[in-house]
Each structure stands twice: as C-alpha cells, then as structure tokens.
C-alpha cells in the first residue's frame, strides 16, 4: 500500500497547488484515507442551515466529524417535521468497479441512516438507495469531482 499512499499525498499536493487560493474547494488533506470533501459546492439545503449531503473518504463509509455535524442538523430538522420521510441516496466516485461501488453506496447511506436513528429519527421514516457511481454530482474526472461524488444525499420523499 506504500505506492497508494504516496500517490494520495501527491494528488493532495497537486490539489493544494491548484486550489489553495480557493477556500470553498478544498477537497483533500494529506493523511491516509482522509480525503473527504469539506467544501460547499454541490451542496443543497433541506431547510435553512440544514445541508442535504455528507461526504466520505475514498473507499470509506465512516462518518467524518463534518458529516456528523450535518446529520445532527438533519436529525433536528426531521424531528421538528415529523410527517417528513426521506431517502438517503448513497454514491461512490468513478474510480471503482461498478458492483463494489453499489455495495459501497449502500454502506455509506446506511452509515448516515444509523446516525439519524441514533439521534432520534424513527427508522421507518428513512429509506436507503444506492446508486453506486451511476449518478455523479460533478461529472469531471478529477480529484475534486471524485471527492464531491463520494456522498450520501438526503432527499425528501413527501
């Protein structure tokens, strides 16, 4: 895995060079397996101050601290609007095989679902739906786009 790590570091350096001046687009950091998107591009809002999506590191489905902050806001919003149901759409970037990415999208959506449930949202209000790499939010083939595509999006169904 040494080469993979070096590669990620190199990519991260490139990103820093290109995007260093643009505060909203920082996509990566240099530590291993921690390249979740932290910007606000592509993000929409379920309500004022409630972002609709959380982002993941490459091949990972663990929630980052930014993700739990967002999901906490979603849980508060959903509890305040008890008739609302949601589907959590899990996605992966294009740098993986289609079938594995379907499973990964399901795992990411489930991670978000479990967090909402543990924060008091009723399980029967939440469905998960994996799209794997089928529906990128950003269609470009670069590190920034991939980081924006590794996501779970909360979508209202009613």
């Amino acid at each position: 895995m040494l080469f993979k790590n070096l590669n990620k570091v190199a990519l991260a350096l490139v990103m820093t060079l290109f995007l260093g001046a643009c505060a909203t687009q920082q996509a990566t950091t240099t530590t291993k397996g921690d390249d979740a998107y932290t910007g606000t591009e592509t993000v929409k809002f379920l309500a004022d101050g409630v972002p609709d999506r959380v982002f993941f590191s490459t091949n990972k489905s663990e929630l980052t601290s930014a993700a739990t902050t967002t999901l906490g806001k979603q849980a508060t919003y959903l509890k305040a609007n008890p008739t609302l149901n949601v589907v959590l759409e899990g996605h992966a970037d294009e740098r993986g095989t289609r079938e594995y990415n379907l499973a990964l999208g399901e795992r990411r959506a489930t991670a978000a679902k479990n967090y909402l449930i543990s924060n008091g949202v009723a399980a029967n209000r939440i469905k998960v739906l994996s799209y794997g790499k089928e529906k990128p939010a950003n269609p470009a083939s670069n590190v920034l786009a991939w980081s924006q595509n590794r996501r779970t999006v909360t979508v209202k169904t009613n």
Binding site: F3, E99, Y100, L102, E106, L129
Partner: protein, 446 residues
Amino acid sequence: MKYKIFTILALFFILSTKSFALVSVDITRGNLDPLPTAISDFYLDSKLADNIKNLKLESKIPELIQNNLSRSGLFFALEKKSFIQRPEPAHNKPRFEDWAFIKTQVLVTGKISLEKEGRLRVEFKLWDVVSATELSALAFYTTPDNWRRVSHMISDKIYERLTGEKGYFDSRIIYVSETGPKVDKKKRLAVMDQDGYGVKYLTLGNELVLTPRFSPTSQQVTYMSYFKNLPRVYLLNIETGIQDLVGDFPGMTFAPRFSPDGKKIIMSFAQEGNSDIYTMDIKTRVVEKLTDHPSIDTSPSYSPDGSYITFNSDRSGFQQIYTMKSDGTNVKRISFGEGLYGTPVWSPRGDLIAFTKLYRNKFYIGVMRSDGSGERLLTENYYQEAPSWAPNGRVLVFYRETASDSSGRGGGAKLWSIDLTGYNERLIQTPTDASDPSWSGLLSGK
C-alpha cells in the same frame, strides 16, 4: 422485444480427411506472425433464383469469414484481387501452385446452391496449400436471411481445424447502451452478434439497468434494474420478453450471474451496510445464503464445473479476490499483489480467473490462476473493468472509459476485446457508448 432465434436445420460432414495438416496456428502465444489465408469468393449454383442471386452471398459470406478470422489476430487475409483461380474450379479442384504463388498457406472455398422450399445449401472447403490437401469440408442448410449465422459457424469450423481449439464466432454479446449526459445517463440493455452486427435494444431506457449476463444454457439474461426505484436483480427471456424479479429481498440485490448449468442465479444482497452472496434456484425459487461476513462480498462467479465460486470482498480492509467452495465453505483469499482487485470471473476453461485491478491510479484487466499465482496484466488504462470471457476462453471483452474534462464532457464508455496473450486489443464498434459486456456461449452448442 421479441428476439428471433435462428435455427440451422441440418449440419453434417461431407468429408473428413484424416490427413496430417502442415499448417496450424499456435494460439498459446501472442501471434505476431498471423497465418496467410486466402478466402475465395464462393460460387453460386446457376439454378439459383434472381432474388437470391441479388443478395450477393457469394461475396458477403467470405467477407464475413475474413472479418472474423482477421479480427482474431491469428490470420492474415490476402487480398482478393491477387487470386488467380476462379471460385468454381478453386472449390472443385484447386491449382495449389496458383495459391502457393500468392504466398497463402490456407485456402477457403465454397459453393451456394438451392435446396427445397427456398433453403440454401452452403458448403465450404478448407485447403492446406502447403501440403496440397483438403483439411475439412462441411455443408450447412439454412434460409437465405440466416447467412450471417452460417458464416460465423463456418468461421468457427476453420478456427477449430487450424488452432485445435473451440471457436467463438457464433456467439453474441449483451451490454448496456449509454446515451445522454454523464450525470444522468440513459441506459438500455442491448444485444448484438460478437462482431458488433445486428444490435437490438431489449429495454426502453425508462429505468437504469446494469450488469446484464447471459445464461450459459438458454436465451435468458440476468441483470439489475432500478424499476420503480427499487434496485433488484431480474431475469429476462430475450425470446419472449418476459421479465421476472429474482427472489423477494427487502433491499438491493445486484451483481448477478448464472451458475454454469443455468439453473441458479448467484448475486449479492445488501442490507444494513453489509453485502453478502446468495443463490436462488430459478425453478424452485429456493434462496441460499453463501457468505456471512460484515464486509462487502460481491461480484461472484462460478467455476465452469460449478464446484467453486470466486468473488470480491473487502474483508481484509481492501477489495481483494477470494475463492470458496460452492456451498460457501473453504473461503480463501487469492489476490496478494499491490493494489485493489475486483470483478473476478472464472474462465470457461477453468484454469484462469480474469479480474480488474486498480494500482497507482490506473486500471488493469488481468488474469491469474485460480490459486492466485501467475498474475498477468493484459492492458492498462485510465478506467476499464468488467472482463467477460469468449466461450472458448481465449478472448476477453471489457469496457473502457476515458476521463472527462473539467466541465464533465467526453469520457464515454466503449467495448474492447483483447486476447488472453495481451495482444490484439480491438475496439468493438457500437452505435452508442457501451459498458458491462457479457459474452454468450456458442449458440450452436458444442
């Protein structure tokens, strides 16, 4: 939706010489010195009606045979205009010195005549020019509109006689046709002959469809569809158009394939962030769970005798390839190289497993023995995956995507084929972008 299945009524040997052939093709190595081959126009029986003569089958059939043999990379087809002898005498009694003069080693000739009820008799002969002997001769009976099938079957007979291996030309490829922008692609199931001819669309594109796979024994296909936004594995009969949900799972089912006897579907079922491998018996609908691990287990593929399964799992922390017995016991990791490994698929010959590998941000199609030894990477690119074996286990088809630009343009998917040797990589032309190819078995059986 109805898919016409052609039938060949009769096929028999006219003559089967036992003479030892001086020419033969070694397909175990990359063939950098393809066999010079002359494929003569066939000759038409003068009694044929004008409407059949107008089909120009006497040149179309040899052209299709020539395309097949050339694309295999094992044969070099000589230009027709260099041929000295006319088709009719060449078929009845070749002047081998005329053919040796243009430096061919192999000669194919043929004759088309009329049978009862508008059927055609298409006969071909394969000649060894070096030893001046007839190697094989066969006749096929068919309707005129079925001339492509006959040409593919003749191509297989020639390939088999000269290589000693089964052919693969009389076969089809099912794939996913892709149109529209990358963020919202329209995907449809499509099927075509292995040479790219005769594309037929099997779904309308109203819902996302992925990963179709041919049954090894019938005109059935299993695939994944997002019908009603419920991603599930389906079974489709491409003759009747009848479609069935596979199993009654409370969540996403995906990554389906048939068992080698065509009786079961093996696939993944995802629930609560965990994907495991299941089988369902198509007739009895009995479902069996084969893996039980909190990791992602997917992309299962049976060995040709049905006794083993190879699959993809990240139980080590990263995507790797595993094998197990078909009852789910004896799970063994077999990929240990650097990088990630996915989409293992067992060769119909049983000896090799083809896979996709991600290493240092490049994607590779490779093969390894079923114990994981002897890894060989065949092709490197920006993105490619999903190898599928030709029925003879000598050629792989896969799809490749190029990178799109910063505005998301470009980057379409195309189908490619490559020899097991790593040589002879070729684009398969499709009317639209294309992904997820799956090769059928030989349509004419054994």
